[in-house]
């Protein structure tokens, strides 16, 4: 810290208006852990209790847990960031992890310390309650809601109200399986067709007046088997938002499969029943809900505007005219213009979502000093978004981020892959998807692929097993982990899928071929090379791959099979004597073997 920083008056800290926490849940958790350890609580009920409070099991051990902190609508405030920084040093590994669903996870926490984390969270109004288990998971909202040029209105208050309504609500404590809501801003920043309930804000003109409402999609989701959601009706007026949500949950609660763990997400119910039948049921149920609940049950939507106040600086010290190297690259690949004149939203990419305690600490101050709304948002891509940054403050923000290692470029490009936790902590993992995502990012930034506009709208997403926490099904190039062998020697191997997407044309990626972990990078580079040789002038990698998977390409590469042929020579396993490294997974120096425990699934 420089002297001038000290002289600067620290801008006020904006605090969350909503307290999501209950301090007594910390004591209760501590007590229950003791009873469980004394054998007075059976394994299954303890597990249910633990998950309901947001603590997952950890790979191959009963001693540690992962605590998943919910950030409803993705919002996070400076005091909360500082607290999480402290908690990560005290009870976790000195790093925290941003997930793909706007949660922050603390891993390798001793089960007996979990209640201490709850206490700390309660001090800043955060909770992990119902972040796991068969409940309504964190209610997500696009990080650009409220600033996106393509949105009709800001859905953030509705996401927050929905989260508030269902948190600790008895109707949501014992669902057949987890249940997820995603609110978004527009089609492009989507993720609404890959979730139980997805919502896009819409405005309808009727009799000269305008009415707010949503396009609602039901029954989508990624998993061992993935489905694209169906739109319920043309337009759902805002008054019907809650009734619709309740109706859907009631049907799921009543008819969902409680026995077969592998098939009990709502998407299976929708699929088994057929969409039309399900749709009718929802509409009927909603009429009942509306008729019986209208007086007492409503969403508490807070429409009071956020204060937008550019943080005042007494003087602009530290020679801000000197724009550091890499600024233009960063500006191009990490920021977007907002609807609001002169403001941008800035995306911070973290390697596979990981951030250190000291970076978090610095981030809290950076938000206070640069975001005119005084808070941050977490995104869909294991990342953080600072919004309402004034154009004139961008170079200075960049220098600050650079100082603390948060200025990696390419946040909005293919060079920022998603990797689930994989063998770093997940019980079901077969490969170290987490490290692979980091390796790809490092390599691709070194190759400056973030600057290649042809690649910008593509994505890479990696899961460590066929479950889809890493969202491989909606990536332009997706991977999920498994094992393979040559004779008795095993190696980490990924199934590669091509052409997935989660926007208005949502579709799932198609299986291409299996790629050994240590060949993933060369394979992606080969795909890029092939694309460059065959692209049409306006093509991006994404549009090219889409033509291929949809059978609309007329050049020499017409199908996935053609791509496969080109890649096949790269994936041939060498003998273990020729290349022993091939047989080690990333981040491991001992021979590869698959080993899994009981799954609770964690991204």
């Amino acid at each position: 810290m420089t002297i001038s920083d000290l002289k600067q008056t620290a801008p006020d800290s904006v605090k969350s208006k909503i307290n999501w926490a209950r301090m007594e849940e910390a004591d209760n958790f501590a007590k229950t852990v003791k009873l469980f350890r004394q054998g007075k609580y059976d394994e299954a009920s303890f597990r249910r209790f633990r998950l309901q409070h947001g603590a997952y099991g950890t790979r191959m051990t009963g001693d540690y847990a992962m605590v998943r902190i919910k950030l409803p609508a993705g919002e996070i405030y400076p005091d909360q960031i500082e607290k999480i920084s402290q908690l990560s040093e005290q009870y976790s590994i000195g790093s925290a992890h941003f997930s793909t669903r706007e949660n922050i996870q603390l891993h390798w926490v001793i089960l007996e310390d979990v209640s201490e984390i709850f206490r700390g969270l309660a001090e800043v109004g955060l909770t992990s309650r119902e972040a796991c288990g068969n409940s309504v998971r964190n209610v997500m909202c696009s990080p650009l809601s409220g600033v996106c040029p393509d949105e009709e209105f800001d859905s953030t208050p509705y996401a927050l109200a929905t989260a508030r309504f269902f948190l600790r609500n008895p109707m949501a404590q014992n669902l057949p399986r987890k249940f997820k809501f995603n609110f978004t801003c527009c089609e492009k920043h989507g993720m609404v067709r890959m979730v139980d309930v997805g919502l896009i804000p819409q405005i309808r003109e009727m009799d000269g007046s305008t009415q707010r409402g949503f396009k609602i999609f039901l029954g989508g989701g990624l998993g061992n088997k993935s489905f694209v959601g169906h739109q319920l009706e043309e337009f759902t007026p805002e008054e019907d938002l809650l009734y619709t949500s309740i109706a859907v949950m009631r049907i799921f609660d009543r008819l969902g499969d409680r026995k077969n763990l592998a098939r009990n997400r709502m998407r299976y119910l929708v699929n088994d029943m057929g969409w039309e039948k399900f749709q009718n049921l929802v509409l009927k149920e909603r009429a009942i809900v509306r008729a019986t609940q209208s007086v007492i049950t409503r969403l508490n939507v807070d429409h009071s505007p956020n204060e937008i106040k550019r943080p005042v600086r007494i003087s602009d010290e530290s020679g801000s005219d000197i724009i550091p190297d890499g600024y233009a690259r960063w500006l191009k690949t990490n920021t977007v213009k907002q609807t609001q004149l002169d403001y941008r939203s800035v995306f911070l990419t973290l390697e596979a979502g990981d951030i250190t305690a000291s970076q978090l600490h610095a981030l809290a101050d950076i938000i206070r000093n640069f975001s005119s709304e005084g808070k941050g948002r977490s995104g869909f891509e294991q990342n953080i978004v600072l919004r309402y940054v004034h154009e004139d403050d961008l170079p200075r923000l960049y220098s600050k981020l650079l100082e603390v290692g948060l200025a990696k470029s390419g946040a909005l490009t293919m060079t920022a892959p998603i990797g689930c936790s994989g063998t770093t902590s997940c019980n079901l993992a077969l490969t170290n998807s987490h490290r692979l995502a980091k390796e790809i990012q490092r390599k691709f930034l070194e190759l400056k692929l973030d600057e290649d506009v042809d690649l910008t709208d593509s994505s890479i997403k990696i899961s460590g097993c066929p479950n889809s926490c890493g969202q491989h099904g909606i990536a332009t190039i997706g991977f999920f982990g498994g094992g393979a062998r040559v004779g008795k020697d095993m190696y980490a191997n990924y199934q590669m899928l091509l052409g997935g997407r989660s926007d208005g044309d949502t579709m799932l990626g198609q299986i291409c071929l299996r790629v050994p972990a240590k060949r993933v990078i060369p394979v992606i580079l080969k795909i890029i090379e092939t694309f460059k040789q065959n692209k049409k002038s306006n093509d991006t990698l994404k549009s090219w791959i889409h033509r291929i998977v949809n059978g609309n390409e007329d050049s020499t590469i017409k199908s996935i099979v053609d791509i496969k042929k080109i890649l096949e020579p790269i994936i041939v396993p060498p003998t273990i004597d020729d290349d022993p490294d091939f047989y080690l997974d990333y981040g491991s120096d001992t021979s590869y073997h698959t080993k899994t425990g009981k799954g609770e699934c964690a991204a």
Partner: protein, 264 residues
Amino acid sequence: MDSTKITTDVDSLRSEIRDKSVRVIDVRREDDYKQDHIPTAVNLPLAHLLSDDSPERVLKLVNSMGIDDETPVVVYDDTFGALASRVAWTLEYLGHSNVTLLETTYSNWKSIGLESDSVIPEIRNKEHSLKLQPDILATSDYLESAKTRDDVILIDNRERLNFLEQHIPGAISLPYRTLATTDKILRSKDDMKRLLENRGVTGDSEIITYCGSVGTLSGLAYYALKSVGLPNAKLYVRSFKEWKNLQKPTEKQEDASYWDLSAE
């Protein structure tokens, strides 16, 4: 002295300094000390002490700092109390009972605007007796045999990742950061009690703390245990570094690549 008094609060220290009834020891590096320090403090950089911490040498150092058996001593550092703890423990081991830790760090002392100066005090030598307290020390041999008893708790105060990677078999992990709050080197008594109780660190068990190399982080933990009145704490002062050099058995968390979750 109240035997559970582990830390001295800022106000008390200031009045004790005014009354000239205390010897304050600054354990930071000499350069830092020379720049400024708490008024009347003498300097004993931890490295200087550790270069030879045989009782005879330490006794000489103590005498030269003008400390006799009755002198109240307060130790401070700028390293969340860990270095100060190691020095305080050494005095205690020598047989000095009246030693406490300043409740906060020197940076914090300064940031709240309290006085400091660069005056190096004139000290008259005193004579301290030598009454070693072997009860608060654990050696590797001692630890090895103690581990076989089930009323002994072994605590590792290094960071979690280091613990996962390698630790003394049977140890529990309690990273040093857990012991402090934002502005105090130790949590309040109630908070500390609850934390330790949750972890099963209670009652009359013998408790041995260790850390990476010289017993600083675990020295702080030693005082944390004493702060809640746990009577039977020992410091394995040569800690994990010695344990590994002696090629004694270690344990690790298997089958997980936790390091790759770290953003370091």
